[in-house]
Symmetry: C2
Subunit: 286 residues, 2 copies
């Protein structure tokens, strides 16, 4: 499925032969060739659960991955996290410069909205509008960008567990929920109860994903992680590990995993892809 | 009409009381209280020309102004133009810091797409999708962001007149055309010939706008301009004035004005707002 996503992204990113070539190279560098594609996997699993044909989920899934890639490029910039390494490669601004990386992120955001608006497979205009609305909300000041704002304002200030949770619900949770919902709405008239179950599921694994990230940052070395490890502690950032301790953080990840599974309890094998994904997310490296 | 736009933007920007408060303050700082609102004026004039009720043009016009405001915030960042002054006020990053300014731009872009997708006055889903598509294309790598990429890559390299034109067609022209087209599509089933005339008109005044900008930068002082003047020459940037000289640049602005007027030649008083706007743009300060 990761290979499928790579091909879909490749098909929808502008070719490097098209002007402005360096911007298009940078967009491809940032969006292709790496990452776990958790968001895309979630879109596909949620879409299949709701009965959408795989090819109808391609563009919505790609749009979420583009928003994610854009956020990573901007997040890594010197004025933000100032990171040199991402997915085991030099970050986009290290290769293309800060100004071009800024534009790479901006243009990836536009492209995410563009590809949904022009998608030929999703015939229903209302459905596409709903997806665009969900994606815009999830990316904006009450979603991902808002979470990043809370994050940069909290550097050096110890957060309570509730504040940390609020930050993550916005910073990563909103887009993970959007990935699940866009998958669900790739189906014609998805079952309301299934959409609710998916939303519940996505909330739980979105938070679990972040708790696991914090555990990995505290435990792993840079090579395993593919990005600079131990950065949170050095930056004095509050994480689930600094607030709860390692053992309670692992316990919390297990609880969130159980919550996610519970959301699917009324469903049989049609929810197996979602279950596998929950296992993959919470058992990534421990 | 500028006052109307200010009120519409105010109504659609998140309140500063809503979390994350500082991000929302920054978004309001960047988008409210200033600017000539040329793009909004163009949306309104184009919409009225095509028979759209004013209130149907509000959100499309505001969305274009949000994209414009976002581009200014990112353009002013230290890694781009590194400008301290905009619309006579300190730039967003000077007040809120570079990281928050980056997020202010990102969130304004999302919000532009969000407000169209959720607009209650435009009932036609296909019409809204078309607007979102036009706006995404105009903002992205083949539009505004692409023009900025060409711009930063050409610093210190003398451009030909054709290359300069290509840069401006993308950097400012694409969004100005989008402003006109979003205005036109605010009408139910706008007349095809009128849409073509508006597109032709917008291309001409979009370029005229940039030529005049170059003339003003070469001639005006910082106070009149509301932003740092004479920066192009100091940065060794190619402009219409450096390539053509001041007198030929003024001649070009007049020709583009005439082209814009010619696009409206079949129309009577219903095009007067568009004509006034063309006059305003080309006669701004000389």
């Amino acid at each position: 499925m990761q290979t499928r996503m790579e091909l879909v992204l490749d098909a929808h990113l502008p070719a490097t032969a098209i002007m402005p070539t360096r911007l298009h190279e940078g967009m491809r560098y940032a969006a292709l060739g790496g990452g776990k594609r958790v968001r895309a996997l979630l879109s596909y699993a949620a879409g299949e659960f709701c009965g959408a044909p795989l090819e109808h989920i391609d563009v919505p899934a790609a749009s979420v991955e583009m928003i994610h890639a854009f956020s990573l490029v901007h997040d890594d910039l010197p004025c933000m996290d100032d990171d040199d390494l991402r997915r085991g490669k030099p970050t986009t601004h290290k290769v293309y410069g800060d100004a071009m990386a800024l534009l790479v992120g901006d243009a990836l955001q536009s492209l995410a909205f563009q590809i949904i608006s022009q998608d030929k497979l999703l015939n229903n205009a209302t459905q596409k509008l709903q997806m665009l609305h969900i994606l815009a909300l999830a990316s904006g000041s009450r979603g991902m960008a808002g979470g990043q704002a809370i994050d940069i304002e909290s550097i050096g200030i110890p957060l309570t567990r509730e504040e940390l949770e609020q930050m993550h619900i916005h910073k990563t949770g909103a887009l993970i929920r959007a990935a699940a919902l866009l998958g669900a709405y790739s189906a014609d008239a998805p079952d309301e109860e299934k959409v609710k179950a998916i939303d519940h599921f996505a909330k739980a694994i979105g938070l679990a994903f972040q708790v696991v990230d914090d555990i990995l940052d505290a435990e792993a070395d840079t090579q395993t992680l593919g990005k600079t490890a131990g950065k949170d502690a050095r930056n004095n950032k509050s994480t689930y590990v600094t607030i709860l301790g390692l053992s309670a953080a692992k316990q919390l990840a297990s609880e969130l995993h159980a919550n996610a599974m519970a959301a699917l309890s009324f469903y049989g094998r049609e929810a197996d892809c979602l279950r596998q994904l929950a296992n993959f997310i919470t058992q990534r490296s421990f």
